[in-house]
């Protein structure tokens, strides 16, 4: 006796049919899907507005069935602030790379978080500037080679990688801040939970929420996708520990 | 007007397109010519085709952008589709027949099919397909001296003897085939 098949995993409604321009194995794609699934599951697609960064994910709007704004490099949190303040009924999120958020956009993210703006930031930390061809990012690991640190990041001149989640969670204003990974299926499953929670908290009007996702850039790291996921585990995770750094529901603020 | 030649090298990234163009440009410069090499760096770069244009001239070069080049060496099918129609009337088109099984369908061009990948494998290194194409192109146009190109390769590859040998063979194979095709 065969029943007709049920789809138990499929492309989320909030995603469009377009094939992404990302390199093979780049986990930007996974993160996109997690965002889309979260919007779908919470029923938010209809009233969501995304803010695209400048970086590899600059074309993110092509991959979502969601209204999108495209921000100047680093300024997505300011756009999101502006939008959310005049339309508090909508669901607003930014999607930003590490160059975008932690370098040029440092001022905007710190202040948006500190004002407790009620939007969600998906922060994709791949330890490099992808789009412009692999330059050093504020999150580049010590001794990691990039096109602007050909001998490896010299911490004596460029300092250590910045841990945004730790830094932002020192702010007293309540927020939800978590760091997750997408380098194994198990991590992806947990990442999804964090992202969904971030959106839920926004939905409830609770606080600013940010999920930092450790991601890969096989192209500019110069290793294959599988090696890349391993490198996240061995080289990035020890410095960028996963976890929840701030949670309004934990009552630690 | 003075003598000017323009050639587009086009293919997938990783096929040595840029290098072939640069080698030509370096050599022509050493021969005292005016040269200009310009890559495409547009949005098509990631995942799409890569191409570069080399202009070699006896006098100062005007436009570095050549919409209708005199010649093209195309390494894959999308490149043929993109550039096949752009070549000047009476121009020259070299097609990598290892990967392309069609032709330009133009009758106002001189067109040759060269299975550079296959020859490269034969020579012993699939990576020298670009050199084979370049050698054939030079042989056909005389744009620079064969010897100058060889010297340039020697200079660039320096002490990497093994690689040099294979490149020498690639040069010879390209030249040989060109001679055969032309006559």
């Amino acid at each position: 006796m065969t029943s007709s098949p049920t789809l138990i995993f499929k492309r989320p409604d909030a995603m469009s049919e377009n094939v992404t321009h990302y390199c093979p194995g780049c986990t930007h794609g996974v993160i996109h899907r997690l965002v889309a699934e979260s919007l779908d599951e919470l029923g938010l697609r209809d009233r969501a507005v995304g803010v695209a960064p400048v970086g590899c994910s600059v074309l993110i709007y092509n991959y979502f069935n969601v209204d999108f704004l495209e921000a100047p490099h680093g300024r997505a949190p300011a756009l999101a602030t502006g939008f959310k303040r005049v339309r508090p009924d909508m669901i607003v999120f930014t999607y930003q790379g590490d160059g975008d958020l932690a370098s040029i956009g440092m001022g905007e993210i710190v202040h948006a978080a500190n004002r407790g703006e009620k939007f969600t930031t998906i922060f994709v930390n791949n330890a490099i500037y992808g789009m412009t061809g692999g330059q050093m990012a504020p999150t580049t690991m010590p001794n990691q080679r990039t096109t602007t640190s050909p001998a490896g990041r010299d911490v004596n001149k460029a300092g250590f990688p910045i841990r945004m989640s730790e830094m932002l969670s020192t702010l007293k204003t309540p927020s939800y801040i978590a760091r997750v990974g997408v380098f194994t299926p198990m991590h992806i499953i947990n990442a999804k939970k964090a992202i969904k929670k971030a959106f839920r908290l926004q939905m409830e009007g609770k606080c600013f929420s940010m999920v930092e996702v450790l991601s890969t850039c096989p192209t500019n790291w110069g290793i294959n996708p599988i090696e890349s996921t391993k490198w996240v585990k061995t080289d990035m995770e020890p410095y960028f520990p996963l976890g929840v750094f701030s949670d309004p529901e934990r009552g630690d603020d | 007007m003075a003598q000017q030649n323009e050639v587009v090298f086009a293919g997938f990234g990783g096929q040595g397109i840029m290098t072939a163009g640069q080698l030509l440009a370096y050599t022509a410069m050493e021969e005292g010519k005016h040269v200009c090499w310009i890559p495409s760096y547009g949005p098509e770069m990631r995942g799409g085709t890569a191409n570069c244009t080399v202009v070699v001239s006896d006098k100062r070069i005007g436009s570095p952008i050549i919409n209708h080049p005199y010649s093209a060496c195309v390494f894959n099918r999308p490149s043929l589709e993109k550039f096949g129609g752009l070549i000047k009337k009476d121009g020259l088109l070299l097609i990598n027949s290892s990967l392309i099984d069609v032709s330009s369908e133009r009758d106002d061009l001189t067109e040759y099919l060269i299975p550079v990948n296959d020859i490269a494998v034969k020579v012993g290194n699939p990576k020298v397909a670009n050199i084979i194409m370049l050698a054939a192109y030079i042989e056909m146009t005389g744009i620079i001296k064969f010897k100058s190109l060889k010297n340039m390769l020697t200079k660039k590859l320096g002490k990497k003897k093994d690689l040099l040998e294979i490149n020498y063979s690639a040069l010879e194979e390209g030249r040989k085939l060109a001679k055969k095709l032309v006559k």
């Binding site: 007709s4 098949p5 049920t6 138990i8 995603m15 194995g25 930007h28 794609g29 294959n224 599988i226 | -």
Partner: protein
Amino acid sequence: MPGVRIDKNYCKGCELCVHACPMHILEMSKDINLKGYYYAKLKEPTKCIGCQICAITCPDVAIDVHTHGSQFILFEY
């Protein structure tokens, strides 16, 4: 009975799914797709346990998972 469907034209041949599948039943094909990638395919369809791990892993949302009848949920997702 669960099963997966890989849309070869979304696949970019990254091999992450092959690596992730706990049953080791995926492999890379010898053919290329429209974009020139060697795509992933199912080696032993009957062994699929419908865990969705390949689909969860795929950065290009190339994989669907379906089931005939009920499916044991291995984890919350």
